[in-house]
């Protein structure tokens, strides 16, 4: 896993309080990791802070899985 993926994973584990081995690329924040809509907003805010990027609302809507987040951040940093 790349550095970005590791940092994303760490944020997700910390924020959602889920087991690290559940946080795989294909895992959906809401369906697999038990996030509610407010959690997803908080995750996006945490990603913005960690990586010093801006994630606009329409982009945030497309980030459904851990892999989506990693890919978006890779393209944005």
């Amino acid at each position: 896993m790349s550095d970005i993926a590791d940092r994303v994973k760490k944020i997700v584990v910390e924020h959602l309080g889920v087991d690290e081995d559940k946080v795989v690329e294909s895992a959906s924040f809401i369906d697999d990791l038990g996030a509610d809509s407010l959690d997803t907003v908080e995750l996006v805010m945490a990603f913005e802070e960690e990586f010093g990027i801006e994630i606009p609302d329409d982009a945030a809507e497309t980030i459904q899985t851990v892999g989506d987040a990693v890919n978006f951040i890779k393209g944005a940093v």
């Binding site: 509610d36 407010l38 908080e42 805010m45």
Partner: protein, 245 residues
């Protein structure tokens, strides 16, 4: 009775009678306070009176940029904003048929839109802290209506619906959003009324007297405190029985 030690509170309209009393009460309960208002001199005076744990962060809430900058300025002064008291308000009274778009818009901008923006501005920090208090000062006329105050009543009633919606969204994060609805409170604003007007008002108040700014400050202090953690989306009416809802 209600302990706010270590909490940081931003109070808008702190240069006014009610806002000043709220700031003093929160400060007396142990909070640090950031005093906001349009007129800097009375804010500085109040800060000097309070001494430590008091900061002045002037802002004109009819200016969108100033509203956007205020939560940041308050957080920089105090370290965080744990309690937001949206007390600032203006009136531009006129009979409905004579009310201009401008009178309508000014009141909506300051009394409703700025509260939306300030609340949005402090939420990120509160979400992270898993603790926060937003207290919006509404008015009895938001519930009862009042001739000549179509704009003011609309804004105050709007605050109640907005507060309830936000209360739903953030309740699971330890953040509460409530309203305090004053009735007639003796301030510089009501001093302008003549005896006949005052007499007329008093006949509508079962308690037989106008309220004091401290009556509102006590309600705000309760809602801002850890003791009120299970109270959210509520409106606490402080009106001497003038309107029992």
């Amino acid at each position: 009775m209600f302990d706010l030690t270590g909490k940081n509170a931003l109070v808008t309209g702190a240069s006014g009678g009610i806002g000043g009393a709220i700031a003093k009460a929160l400060h007396a309960a142990g909070a640090s306070v950031a005093l906001s208002g349009t007129r800097e001199a009375p804010l500085q005076e109040l800060a000097a009176e309070l001494g430590e744990r008091a900061h002045v962060v002037p802002a004109n809430l009819s200016d969108a940029d100033a509203v956007a900058a205020l939560p940041k300025a308050a957080a920089e002064a105090m370290g965080s904003v744990d309690v937001l008291v949206n007390n600032a308000g203006i009136t531009r009274d006129n009979l409905f048929m004579r009310m201009s778009d401008d009178e309508w818009q000014q009141v909506l901008d300051v009394n409703l839109t700025s509260v939306f923006r300030l609340s949005r501005g402090v939420l990120r920090g509160m979400m992270k802290a898993r603790w926060g208090r937003i207290v919006n000062i509404t008015s009895v006329v938001g519930t009862t209506g009042n001739p000549g105050q179509g704009n003011y009543a609309a804004a105050k009633a709007g605050l109640v619906g907005m507060s309830k919606s936000l209360a739903y969204e953030v309740a699971s994060r330890g953040i509460t959003v409530n309203c305090v609805a004053p009735g007639f409170i003796a301030t510089a604003m009501t001093d302008k009324l003549n005896d006949e007007q005052k007499g007329k008002i008093l006949t509508q108040i079962p308690a037989g007297a106008m309220g004091a700014p401290d009556d509102i400050a006590a309600a705000v202090t309760y809602l801002a405190s850890p003791a009120a953690g299970y109270v959210t989306g509520a409106t606490l009416h402080v009106n001497g029985g003038m309107s029992m809802v």
